[in-house]
């Protein structure tokens, strides 16, 4: 079974929730409208998209596998390939809209030097596409996005998040570990900010590591049918 067929299978069996789709799709005309009305301000739509992408990629793996929904695929392909295809299927729609919004920015600015296409923009997309997916693969649909969002909002409400945000916005002035933590907690604050390359590298590495850990876990996981376990 080719990687493309695996992606198509997962896209059909575990589709992105329709309200996520609608929300993500709406960010594109929103970006166009912003660029017409307030040129250079479409980053607001990018931030909305990153929020939604967190939830969109949280499609979950284990719960579906334990209902037998993935059986026809899992007997025909390696678990690692299936895990990567599942991640790709969950990530690609949001990534495509991210590219489209970046293109709108770039067309309006007559330059590729826009928020979406900067290094911090790509890393933000990678972060919100990988860590929530990895958490949800193990703990169930929406868990990754919901936990992350809850953590971000809680930190902002309690005030400690504001100091963390400062670590992103003042590159070189905060310890690298704090800046990395800030990027992890508030990835949507990254686009357009001149973040240190070492911080971005660490964030990208953490994102890829989360996917690798989740895929490796899926490769070893057991998928008893729900009623079968312990019965």
């Amino acid at each position: 079974m080719s990687f493309f067929h695996q992606m198509r299978f997962f896209g059909r069996v575990t589709p992105i929730r329709s309200w996520c789709w609608i929300g993500m799709a709406a960010t594109l005309p929103f970006a166009v409208w912003l660029e017409i009305e307030l040129p250079g301000s479409s980053s607001a739509s990018l931030i909305s998209l990153l929020f939604l992408q967190m939830l969109a990629v949280s499609t979950g793996f284990l719960s579906h596998a334990r209902r037998g929904f993935y059986d026809p695929l899992l007997v025909r392909t390696s678990r690692r390939s299936a895990g990567l295809a599942h991640w790709a299927a969950a990530t690609l729609p949001g990534a495509a809209i991210f590219l489209a919004i970046g293109s709108v920015e770039a067309i309006r600015a007559h330059s590729l030097n826009v928020f979406a296409f900067g290094a911090s923009g790509w890393v933000a997309l990678l972060l919100v596409s990988s860590i929530p997916w990895a958490i949800s693969a193990r703990f169930g649909a929406l868990s990754g996005g919901a936990v992350w969002m809850l953590a971000s909002v809680s930190l902002l409400v309690t005030g400690s998040g504001v100091a963390l945000l400062g670590a992103i916005r003042a590159p070189g002035q905060a310890p690298i570990a704090k800046a990395v933590l800030a990027g992890l907690v508030f990835p949507m604050a990254l686009p357009g900010v001149p973040v240190l390359a070492s911080v971005l590298t660490a964030l990208a590495a953490l994102s890829l590591a989360s996917v690798a850990v989740a895929v490796e876990w899926l490769a070893r996981a057991e998928f008893p049918l729900r009623e079968e376990e312990g019965s």
């Binding site: 026809p72 678990r79 490769a219 996981a221 057991e222 008893p224 079968e228």
Partner: protein
Amino acid sequence: MSGTLVAREMWKSYGPRHVLSGADLLVPGGEITGLIGPNGAGKTTLLRLLCGFLRPSSGTIATDAGDVARSTAPAGLAHFGGGHTVPPGVSAHAWSRDVSGGAWEGDDRRKVRDLSRGTRQMLGLKATLAREGISILILDEPWEGLDPDGARWLNASLLEKSRGGTAVLVSSHRLHELAEICDRFAFLRDGLVTVRTREDVGAPGGPEGLLREFDSRQVTP
């Protein structure tokens, strides 16, 4: 395609409970093996172990090509675990196309959740059996929900597969169906498998011998 599946000394425990306690099972190519056991005996667990969905606590699974790595399905294996394993939100047409390349009648765009239980079962079976290159076929309660026409179609399809060299393993409580098509019977009880041939249980004469064997407390390995 010809294939043979061999499970040796399979142990599987959930906490302190042993579902399988050193079960051995041979599923020869070109034959149909019926897996029989009371509810909760571990039939589905055994089938999912053979498919690589579960890891045995100990024991090995091998095919003609050699040992199968843990958490891996043997090459050429097709499996269907019942209508409840077909995702409800997918259209019948799309599901069939994804699983087998398109084996479902017509252009049925209905969602699986809108199909009757029997139709869902037929959809899964047809898609599974239509796959090419199957050397090992494992079906869990395949007659569940089928009407007499569907059951006849399934029996004929399984016989055709086995004549082509496929190793077929089916679990079921439908002793009449099993007696009609199976070459061998694997009784799972107390975590162990006892195999009887068709002649051993007098299956050519009907399911009575199977029922006696099923009921018998004498079934010991």
